[in-house]
């Protein structure tokens, strides 16, 4: 007697076990895997260049819900555009050297630990002391993950991924609004703040660490070499101007570093004007030193006609700018008190007036 054919199990999104769209619940039911493990996997993959978010969105688009009262899935204009945008996002994400990629193994280990500990608590197994220890361990792992996310978001922004991080913050906000009508999704507040706070901090300092890292000393020989200026990501930039014979009039020297120090060494008696913008740090030029957050120093003085003028435009995210007639030992004691008299203001003023 022929046996009735077993109905094929179809992958659907769960309406009974869901936090956002029921994707993990549906996948867990379909694959007979704990949905918690799938959720953690999605979160981990979200740090692999956003693949987890993309995969989740794809599932929300292509996998129908198991709600029998829901209208049948149809390909409309919005769904087609959505799939197209996700395809474009996938191409953008799959570029090499994505900054969060190397951290995925560490996140996988942390995710496995969280899964095992949460399972232990949910199963109500073990002793009371064991459950307390599990809760403490979960807390430590979550704090470590939050710290890692904080650093990753800051580094991602400083390396030019600020738009992606801001997009993730908005995605968290959209998830919060959508989740509000499905019982609440307050857990999204934590990742939103973990991403938004470092992004805001980096944005406030205009920190951009793309470029060369390390200690570099530049020895321009002629004024024409200065036109494009010098740019570094992180480190120490020293520009030795002593061999440059400055022509009459203004010579611009644009300098930029994301994090670190800029020192410009000028011959004694040189007329120097400065426009320095430092996110967090200090500026020491001919008219004294200033420090703090969002430091913007303009040392723009009268320059007599025909006098050679060196105009230094320095842009620093975090660090300091020094313009003087000798390099300083910035690691020595009293660095902010006694070591910054190298460019005597009186000499500088006299040089700009042509009376030095």
């Amino acid at each position: 007697m022929p046996q009735p054919e077993e109905p094929q199990r179809r992958l659907t999104r769960s309406t009974t076990d869901r936090l956002i769209g029921g994707v993990a619940g549906g996948l867990g039911r379909h694959l007979n895997i704990d949905p918690l493990a799938i959720r953690i996997t999605f979160v981990i993959l979200a740090f692999a260049g956003g693949i987890g978010i993309l995969a989740y969105l794809m599932c929300m688009i292509f996998v129908p819900t198991d709600d029998p009262s829901a209208p049948p899935q149809k390909w409309g204009l919005a769904r087609t555009i959505g799939a197209g945008l996700l395809a474009v996002a996938a191409l953008a994400i799959l570029i090499p050297d994505w900054l969060w990629g190397p951290q995925v193994p560490l996140l996988l280990v942390a995710g496995a630990i969280v899964y095992l500990l949460v399972r232990m608590l949910r199963d109500d197994g073990g002793t009371h002391a064991g459950r307390v220890a599990a809760r403490i361990a979960i807390g430590i792992v979550l704090v470590a993950l939050a710290a890692g996310g904080f650093v990753a978001a800051a580094a991602g922004t400083a390396l030019g991924g600020g738009i992606v991080v801001a997009g993730l913050v908005i995605a968290c906000g959209v998830g919060l609004v959508g989740g509000a009508f499905r019982g609440g999704a307050r857990w999204l507040i934590a990742p939103a703040l973990v991403l938004a706070l470092p992004l805001g901090a980096v944005a406030a300092t205009d920190l951009d660490v793309r470029g060369t890292w390390g200690d570099r000393t530049f020895h321009p020989a002629t004024a024409t070499e200065l036109a494009d200026g010098y740019e570094m990501g992180v480190g120490s930039m020293k520009v030795d101007m002593r061999d440059v014979d400055l022509p009459s009039g203004r010579t611009d020297l644009p300098l930029e570093i994301g994090m670190g120090e800029i020192q410009v060494l000028v011959p004694e008696g040189t007329c120097v004007t400065t426009d320095a913008d430092v996110g967090v740090g200090a500026v020491n030029v001919g008219n004294g030193d200033q420090g703090g957050i969002d430091v913007d120093v303009t040392d723009d003085r009268y320059v007599a006609p025909g006098v050679p003028e060196l105009h230094v435009s320095a842009d620093v995210g975090i660090g300091h700018v020094v313009v003087g007639d000798r390099f300083l030992d910035l690691d020595g004691p009293g660095r902010w008190r006694d070591d910054f008299d190298s460019l005597a203001t009186g000499t500088n003023v006299a040089a700009c007036r042509g009376t030095a």
């Binding site: 922004t157 600020g162 738009i163 991080v165 801001a166 997009g167 913050v169 908005i170 968290c172 906000g173 959209v174 998830g175 919060l176 609004v177 959508g178 989740g179 509000a180 009508f181 019982g183 609440g184 999704a185 307050r186 999204l188 507040i189 939103a192 703040l193 938004a196 706070l197 992004l199 805001g200 901090a201 944005a203 406030a204 300092t205 996110g279 957050i293 969002d294």
Partner: protein, 65 residues
């Protein structure tokens, strides 16, 4: 006794705040706006404060006492 609404107001308010903050930061990163520290820090603090206030006023989510 006023019945609780069919949605979680705290999530809704927090979501709106996070979207606004994210939008602000997105515009800054896209160089549409140039936000300096003197504006960004208060904005971040206001966002965190608003979220905490909303969660505190609304109370715990449904299903939790």
């Amino acid at each position: 006794m006023t019945p609780r609404p069919g949605y979680d107001p705290a999530s809704l308010i927090a979501g709106v705040i996070v979207i606004a903050l994210g939008g602000l930061l997105l515009l800054d990163q896209a160089d549409v706006l140039e936000l300096s520290a003197e504006y960004l820090w208060p904005a971040l603090l206001a966002a965190v404060g608003g979220i905490l206030l909303a969660c505190g006023l609304v109370g715990p989510p449904r299903g939790r006492s």
